[in-house]
Symmetry: C2
Subunit: 96 residues, 2 copies
């Protein structure tokens, strides 16, 4: 097995790891369905998990390139990064 292939495997595994948490899938669904950006607090309320936990998930999703963020003052808005999904999981968003 060559090294590029190995790196690709690691990258794909990383994306899967990020998605291996039900709450993250839920975050992506409400992002996708609401068709607008969401904040940490909104998600915290909708999913009934603490803000710090949501912040942690936001960071993970962002780090994996699955979401975009836009900061406005102290508020951070999350949206789906369609590009990554198109490249790695083309059918995922439609299946939500």
């Amino acid at each position: 097995m060559n090294i590029e292939q190995s790196n690709k495997d690691n990258q794909l595994a990383e994306i899967f790891k990020t998605l291996s948490e039900p709450n993250r899938i839920r975050i992506l669904r409400i992002l996708d369905h609401s068709d607008r950006e969401l904040t940490c607090s909104e998600v915290s309320e909708q999913l009934n998990i603490s803000k710090s936990t949501v912040s942690y998930h936001f960071k993970a999703l962002r780090h994996a390139g699955l979401t975009n963020t836009r900061q406005a003052a102290q508020t951070k808005y999350l949206s789906i990064n369609e590009k990554t999904f198109k490249e790695y999981l083309p059918s995922f968003l439609e299946s939500l």
Copy 2:
């Protein structure tokens, strides 16, 4: 969020968790590319990881419904369960 949706999320997350390990992706690739069943020992040798670790991964893949097993005497043959991939990750195998 209803309970069925929640269960579906858990199930999908479970599949992602199973795939969040580079070696498991590699196992699936060599399964897919070799176009035949593989054994624990073969994989152990090809990936340079111990048999007990491969056995552990085999079990996980099987448990997630991603592979099928066929037992013949003391040898266990693994193959890809296309059905699960078709249902949950229709583009995955082609991308390997």
